[in-house]
Structure formats: structure tokens, C-alpha cells
């Protein structure tokens, strides 16, 4: 049957051997599969999950900042940003990808440096933001090119927006990218594009506003694109911070100041609520969030009106005549004069070889305490300062909190300077000269105050000598917390009679025919203003200039002109608002500063009467403290029941 049985036999044997070999190899494959899929299954299952599951940190929305009526001062808006996940850029360098991206969206050289730095700093799976605030067309172009751009994704983020821009910038501050030295345990800080408060309220309440991060487990594909979310743990959104500011008033002041380089602080004398704090000129917080170009930055830094400085808390000025209330109170307390003791002003005052002038060259004649303040007689104050001595003047100023920062809830506050003999010996190693006391008597020389301190001094004069402290935060997270001013705000123990003389004198400054601010009456019968003007020489007009015809302040270059100051309160009876106005190189206190103070307080009054029309009924209850009605001016009964409740929640 078979014609070549030998060959067939050999073939069959060989085929059997080959089949055996194949069986062994297939068995080996089965064993390998068993090893991978059963023995090592758990290990590979874990690796597979590591492959596909990414843990992503969720940035909580930053808390809003609102004014006392709930108007948003800082809020979040959506924006689109382009992000890069470094580990998904396989096989090519970040640089190559960036070059590719540059064909689609513009990236500056400094952007590229920042991106490379962030890529190096973070772990490879942390996305790095290439560009913020993408336009719609940019978003579309990136989406179209997505297949060619591994590791890139578009993220919908939130960015900080300040609806009022410059008008409250110094109070609110701004947020900016996290820097190396900010990094701490909070993993949120490592999120790309995360912002931290850099100045103002944003900085002071940064932790409250920030909230805590959530996390989300997402499934990603091999290219790092998110496929779906597996689980999510929500973080805690940042708390909403309510300020004591009345943004309407703040806006009005900013408008009223116009181009002036100035500070205006309005405070509630009853509880220290800062209702307005304007430092002019200002900057736009939105620009800082966006990131300033070096040109814009240089412009801000080199501006001689220093828009970056919050003059209200960081500008120190000689208080000038606005300091005379302190000198008078010190003299009365020491008993070196009685209120109706008259001192003769001839227009000049001699002390040893030195001659000091009154602003009124012809002199005021005989003036008593009240007239001296009303007409701002310098000679009177030279004399009583000399009699009182610098240390006693300083002691009174200290009672008003003028020797240290007020402790307002803003960063970067300066403390001003109240000189004493010890201070001079300690810092300058020189003895105190009596002439320096005389100069301090009119608030010049060494004495320096911030506008906030001036407002605080005025508020403490107006509220019957109670040591309120200024603050800007009204509530955090809807919770007012403990009252900022305890019901028993410490009395400064100024004899009420002395205070009455000073406040009446301040009333006459505005409302008496001889007052230095008589042209700045409010014209509202139930809302008269009291105050004190001040004009501070920045530089004496030299003899040479006088000969060249420079007589008046206005003839000088801007930066040599006098500072114009005014402190005041209103209404005169049962005061509510205290104000300080400092206009740098603004000319005269009575001509420039007092009208501004009048306009601002009238606006505050109008806003108060227009209460029901405002978004939230104007809360004109004293927050606390006014229960001490004996020392407060009479009139409206003190709402003690509110004081007891501490006004939780507002």
C-alpha cells in the first residue's frame, strides 16, 4: 500500500517528536499565562489601577469679599487655561512641545522660563499652566490640534475678579501666584495657577478665604486624558469675608479725590468700623492677578504719587495743627493753663535766640483755649507746649493710641512717631531741646502720624474718650464671631470737661465765623461737622525764592507744596463718623482738605438716610459699646440690648 514505508516511518516518528515539542511549548505558554494571570494577578491589577487612576486635587473656590451691604468686592469668575502634564509628553522634550504650542497661542520668553521652572519643581503628573485666560478662538484652535499635542489639556478655572478695580485695591489687596517661600504643607499651594493673598484683606484672611482642597479620582487613558471620574471628595470652599466698608462711600471718595495724592479714612466712632479707607492714586487689583508686565510695574513703582503704598496706614505725616487737641488736653490735664486763661499772640514767639512764627503774621491778640483751636493760633500752642513738656504731651498722645500701630486688620501698617526725651536719647544720643517741644506743640518736628491714627484720634475724641480700635473685618463665613469691641471699651479717663472744651472748639472750627474751616459747613442742620484743619510745610519758601516772586504755595513745584490736613467728626451731637483727610501737597487744610471731609461726611449722611433703598438695610445700630451713655453725648438712647447680643451675624 505504501510505496516508501521507510520514509513514512521516519516522517511519522519525526512528526511525533515535533508534535511533542509543540505540545511542550504550548504548555509553557499556558504556564506563563497562569503565572501572569493568577499568581501575579494582584500585583498587575494594582499596576493597572496606577496606570489609569490619577488623584487630582480640587481647588476650592476662594471665598468672596463683600462690603457691609453684601456688595461683592472680590469674587471668582470662570476662565479657560491651557495646562500641560509633563509626564504625558512622551519621547519629546518639553521645549519641543512648547515650540509647537507657540504656533497656536503666544507665549513670551518669561512664560517659557516659568513653565520650565514649574515643570522641574512639580512631580511629573502635576499639570503646569501654560497660559491663563484663553480666548475662545484659542480654545478652539487647541481643541482642533489636540491629537498632535500630547499632554495638553484645557482647564476651566476660576480667577479672582475685583469688580471695583482700583477703588478698594489698597484695602482688598490682591492675589498672586504662589512663590517658593509660600510653600508649606498645604498641597493646594502646589496646584498650578493657585493664588494666594499677597496684600490687604486677601493676605490677612488668606487662610479663611482659601478653604481646603478636595480630591477627585479620575480614570485617565494612556495619553493622560481624563475618561471619567471615579470618586470625588469635595473640599471646603473658602469662607466669605464681610468687611465694614461701605463700598458706595468708598467709591464716592475715590471719585471726589480725583487726581489728588491723598488719603481719606472714615470710621464709626462708636465701634471702630472702618467705613471707608481710600488711598489715592491706586492700582487695579485685577492687574496683579493677571500679572503685570515689567513696564507696568516700573510705572507703578516710579510714580511720584506712590500708588502702591496705602497712604492711610503706611503713609506717615506731620499732623500739624490737627495735633493741637492732644497738646491742649495734655496742658489741661497737667493744669498749666485753665480753659479761659488767655495768652497773647503777637504773631511770633521767642525762645532763647530762636523765633517761631504764628501762621497769622499779625497775630491773634489774646486767645483762650477755645479760640486757640478755633483760629488755630500757633503761639498759644508754643507756649502751652513749653509749659506742659514733651513727655506729658506724649503721654496724652499715647492714651489715644498714637504711639503705635492701631492694629487694624491690614498688613504693612506703620506706627507714626510720638517723640519723648528718652526716645531721642535712645535713638539719636542727643538731649532734648525745648525748641523741639515748642515745634511739637503745633504737630511738627518729630511728630508723625498715619491718616488712620489721625482718624482714630478724632474718633476717640468724638466718642467721649473711649478706646475703640479700628477694624475692617465685620464677619468671616457669615459669622461675626466675638464682638470686636467689647461692650466695656476701655475709657481713656480723659476728664469729660476737657473733652467738651476740645470738641466744642472743633465745632467752632467749622461752624463759627472765626473758624479756620468756616467755609466747609455741611449745610445740614441736623448733621453739622466739627473738625480741625492742618497745613504742614514740606519745605520752607527760601529767601531766594521769595525774592524771585514766589510768595504763595501754589507757585512751588507740586512736590514742595504744603500737605493739607483735616480731621473731623459728625454730627457734632452724638457723633457717629470720624474722618481724616490728608492731601499730599494739596495746599491748605481749610481750602483743600476740609471741603473734601465735608463732602464725604455729607455723602455718608445721605447714604445713611437713603438706607431702605440700599441692597441691605443700612445697619445703623452701634455694633457694641455705646452702652456707656453717660460719657457718650446725650440724645439717642444707647441700645444696650444690641450691645449685649454682640450683633452676631450682622
Amino acid at each position: 500500500m505504501n510505496r516508501d514505508p521507510d520514509r513514512h516511518k521516519i516522517f511519522t516518528r519525526r512528526a511525533a517528536m515535533l508534535a511533542g515539542g509543540k505540545a511542550i511549548l504550548l504548555t509553557a505558554l499556558c504556564g506563563r499565562l497562569y503565572y501572569l494571570q493568577v499568581v501575579e494577578a494582584d500585583r498587575y491589577a494594582t499596576l493597572a489601577d496606577e496606570n489609569r487612576i490619577n488623584l487630582r486635587l480640587l481647588a476650592p473656590p476662594r471665598g468672596r469679599i463683600i462690603d457691609r451691604f453684601g456688595r461683592p468686592l472680590a469674587e471668582n469668575q470662570q476662565n479657560y487655561r491651557l495646562q500641560l502634564v509633563p509626564e504625558d509628553v512622551k519621547g519629546s522634550e518639553i521645549d519641543e512641545v512648547l515650540t509647537h504650542v507657540q504656533k497656536i497661542v503666544t507665549l513670551t520668553e518669561s512664560d517659557r522660563r516659568r513653565i520650565v521652572r514649574e515643570v522641574r519643581r512639580n512631580r511629573a503628573f502635576v499639570p503646569v499652566t501654560l497660559k491663563e485666560n484663553l480666548s475662545w478662538s484659542e480654545v478652539a484652535r487647541i481643541e482642533i490640534n489636540a491629537p498632535d499635542l500630547p499632554g495638553l489639556m484645557i482647564d476651566v478655572g476660576r480667577s479672582r475678579r475685583y469688580p471695583y478695580g482700583p477703588e478698594a485695591a489698597h484695602v482688598l489687596g490682591y492675589v498672586a501666584a504662589v512663590s517658593e517661600k509660600d510653600l508649606d504643607e498645604d498641597p493646594l499651594l502646589k496646584l498650578p495657577g493657585f493664588r494666594v493673598g499677597r496684600a490687604g484683606i486677601e493676605k490677612v484672611h488668606d487662610l479663611d478665604l482659601r478653604g481646603t482642597g478636595g480630591s477627585s479620582e479620575v480614570e485617565v487613558n494612556a495619553f493622560g486624558r481624563m475618561i471619567r471620574e471615579l470618586s470625588r471628595r469635595e473640599g471646603q470652599p473658602g469662607a466669605e469675608v464681610m468687611l465694614t466698608l461701605d463700598m458706595g462711600l468708598q467709591e464716592y471718595i475715590a471719585k471726589r479725590l480725583g487726581e489728588e495724592s491723598a488719603s481719606v479714612v472714615v470710621m464709626d466712632v462708636r465701634n471702630g468700623d472702618v467705613l471707608a479707607m481710600v488711598s489715592n492714586p491706586s492700582y487695579d487689583s485685577n492687574d496683579f492677578n493677571r500679572g503685570l508686565s515689567s513696564g507696568e510695574w516700573q510705572q507703578l513703582v516710579n510714580n511720584e504719587r506712590s500708588p502702591l503704598i496705602n497712604k492711610s496706614i503706611a503713609g506717615v505725616y506731620s499732623p500739624g495743627s490737627t495735633f493741637k487737641m492732644m497738646v491742649l488736653l495734655a496742658a489741661l490735664e497737667k493744669g498749666v493753663i485753665s480753659p479761659d486763661h488767655k495768652i497773647h499772640c503777637s504773631g511770633e514767639y521767642e525762645l532763647g535766640d530762636a523765633k517761631f512764627h504764628c501762621w497769622k503774621r499779625r497775630g491773634h491778640g489774646f486767645v483762650d483755649a477755645m479760640e486757640a483751636i478755633t483760629e488755630s493760633c500757633d503761639v498759644y500752642f508754643y507756649e502751652i507746649a513749653k509749659r506742659t513738656g514733651i513727655d506729658r504731651i506724649a503721654a496724652t498722645a499715647r492714651k489715644f493710641g498714637l504711639d503705635e500701630p492701631t492694629g487694624v486688620d491690614l498688613p504693612g501698617e506703620q506706627g507714626g512717631l510720638i517723640p519723648t526725651r528718652d526716645w531721642k536719647r535712645a535713638t539719636r544720643d542727643e538731649p532734648w531741646h525745648q525748641g523741639e517741644t515748642v515745634i511739637a506743640g503745633i504737630g511738627q518736628g518729630f511728630v508723625l502720624l498715619t491718616p488712620l491714627q489721625m482718624a482714630l484720634m478724632t474718633a476717640r475724641l468724638a466718642n467721649g474718650g473711649r478706646a475703640i480700635t479700628p477694624h475692617l473685618t465685620r464677619a468671616i463665613g457669615g459669622n461675626a464671631g466675638a464682638p470686636r469691641q467689647p461692650a466695656d471699651v476701655q475709657s481713656m479717663n480723659i476728664p469729660p470737661g476737657h473733652l467738651a472744651i476740645v470738641t466744642e472748639a472743633m465745632n467752632r472750627v467749622v461752624n463759627h465765623p472765626t473758624g479756620t474751616a468756616r467755609r466747609s459747613e455741611t449745610g445740614i442742620e441736623e448733621f453739622p461737622m466739627a473738625g480741625k484743619t492742618g497745613t504742614v510745610q514740606v519745605r520752607r519758601i527760601s529767601k531766594l525764592e521769595r525774592e524771585q516772586g514766589v510768595r504763595k504755595n501754589e507757585d512751588l513745584p507740586w512736590k514742595y507744596r504744603d500737605h493739607a490736613l483735616f480731621v473731623g467728626f459728625a454730627p457734632v451731637e452724638n457723633p457717629r463718623y470720624a474722618i481724616s483727610v490728608v492731601v499730599e501737597h494739596g495746599g491748605g487744610g481749610s481750602s483743600t482738605a476740609a471741603p473734601i471731609a465735608r463732602d464725604v461726611l455729607v455723602e455718608a449722611y445721605n447714604r445713611q438716610s437713603a438706607g431702605p433703598g440700599l441692597p441691605i438695610a443700612y445697619d445703623d445700630r452701634p455694633r457694641n459699646g455705646n452702652s456707656d451713655s453717660a460719657t457718650a453725648s446725650s440724645g439717642e438712647p444707647a441700645p444696650t440690648e444690641i450691645a449685649d447680643r454682640g450683633e452676631g451675624g450682622g
Binding site: D6, F11, L18, K22, L26, L29, Q37, V38, N51, G91
Partner: protein
Amino acid sequence: MRSGLSTPELTLGRKLISINWLLVLLISMVAAVGFAMLYSAANGSMSPWAERQMLRFAFAVGVMIVIATVNIRIWLRYAYVLYFMALGLLVAVEVAGYVGMGAQRWLSLGFVNIQPSELMKIFLVLALARYYNASAIEDIGSITRLIVPIALITAPTILILRQPDLGTAIMVAMTGGAVLFLAGVRLWKFALVGIGALAAAPIAWQFLHGYQKKRVLTFLNPETDPLGAGYHIIQSKIALGSGGLMGKGFMLGPQSHLHFLPEMQTDFIFTMLAEEFGLVGGLALIVLYALIVTYGIIIAVKSRNQFGRLVAGGITTTFFLYVFINIAMVTGLIPVVGVPLPLVSYGGTVMLTLMIGFGLVIGVGVHRDVPVGRRGEAEGL
């Protein structure tokens, strides 16, 4: 003689009846597994792969049946012609082929692109079978009688290596070796060639392309380059391992569907199957393959002529090599050499080659009683 009389009785109808339909069924089952996996690879879509693969398979089944009915003596007669035609095409690829995936493998015939190296796998078996069909048992032992077969094997192997296509070159060489082995070449001669190959390995290393060297090195230690050359192996093992005993379910393999697994519709389709159907699925497919191989061997052994035996044995071995090399590669047992999983991986030329091969194997079965002389004449010795 009785067998001489049987030839005229083999009508087309009889031939069709005597086709091993069980083998055809097994082949179709494996192909169906392939369709399902291609459907899954496209995330539950017939396009782009499953649909085209089905059409190709339908066409290839037709080709297979036609080939199975062709008298085996015709294949013997044209064995050398076909071999040299394929060799000529390989030379043509060298001269005029175009480069795809970094290697010069394809030849465009205008309407279709063909891969001559695939055809060579079959035609080499035919040529060697013809050569040994003509050799007497006592001649096989002679050294000089080895010169022609070794030349037949070496020429295409070198041409394919130059493309460069290491996987196919190895397969062509091993297939040729298997035919020699089945023909009865002495075992010590294989041992000698094996030792010679080992000795030549360092020299051959010099001729390997950069990517080939890299693949071998990566195979030896894949973790050194997890995102580069080692990526395929690591991801494939992760997919397999995470599939576990029962798998993740049809169309639910995360590694595959999230694209961590590269080339899942071609070389790594077994990984996807094992991820989605687990060890059970993987073993089931291997069993199907084993059955096909077994049928092939049975057909070979049952054949009454040496040509048929060698053709069926050789082609079955080629098929086995596809299966083994691919699965060993994706499970990390051997380096990644780019061999598809037969009947399952997406690809037209390989499908057609395999089905031509199966046509020949089935043809051997159909014509198992056809007497084939040493020179292909009906009345042999």
C-alpha cells in the same frame, strides 16, 4: 495497482465531501474570536477593523477551498516556480519596495500591496517538500544533499533579514528547518547548525538594526525603559495580569480601551483577549490553536505521499510558529519581534497566506491517496 486506479475517481464533488470540514470549522471559530476582538478594539464598532477582516476572511475561505481541490501533483510541479517567483518578489522589494513602519516589506502591485515574505513561508515549504519528495531515504543522510535545501532556506532568510524583518526571517528559517527535520535529516546536523548559529550570534548582532538591538536588550530588562522600548512589554504584562482568571468582560478591558496597550488590533490582540476574558479565554484560544495544529499533523501523517506529508507538516509548523511566537512575545517570554496572532490579528496579507496554507493542508488531506512519484508523476515507485 489499486492506488493508480483511484485517481480518476476523485471528482470535484468527492473532493468537496472529503474536505476536513471540522478543521474548517475550527479555523472559522478562531477567526470569529478575531472578529469579536476587533469589534471590541474599535470600542464596539464594526469599523474600521472587524468588518474588513470578515470580508477578507470570507474571500480567503473561498481561496482556501479552491486550493484544497487542486490536485496536489500540480503544486508539486509548480513548487520551484512558485518559490522562485516569491524569491523574485523579495528581490523586487529590495529594489522597489516601499518603507512602512521603518521596514521595507511591502510591494505595491498597483491594486494591492503584498508582502512577499509572507508568500515565501508557504512556497519555501512547497519547494523543500518537492526536493525531499525526490530524495531516496539513503540520499538524505548525505552532506551534499543538504546543499540545495540550505540554499533554498538561506536565500529568502537573508533577503527578509535585510528588509529588516527579524520575526519573519526567523519563522522562514525555522519552517525550513522543520521540513528538513520531518524529512529525516540527522539530529546531530541540527545540533551542529544550532551551535554554529550560537557562534555566529555575536557577528549577527553587528548586522542587527538599532531598533532590533534595542528590542532584544529591552526584552532582557524591560523596566530599564518603561516609557520607551520597554513600554509595550510592560503594558502588555499589566493588561494580561490585571485580567486575572475570568477577565474584565467583553469590551471592558481598561488597559486596552484606555490605549495603554499599543497595537492592540494587530500584534497585541492576544493581550486584549486575555484582559477581557482572563486566563479562561486565553487558554480556550490556545486549545483551539492546538486542535488546528493537531489536525494538521494528523493530515500529514495520514498522507500516503512524502510530498503531501512534508507540505502539511511544514505548513502546520509555520502556523504553530505564528501562534507560539506571538503569544510568547506578548507574555514577555521572548523579545517583541512583530509576529501577528494568526487568524485573529488584523491584516490582509497574513490572513491570505494562512488560508492558502490551510488550503494546501486540506488539499493534502483530500488527495492523501493520490500517488506521487519522485518527479511528480502519477505512477511513483
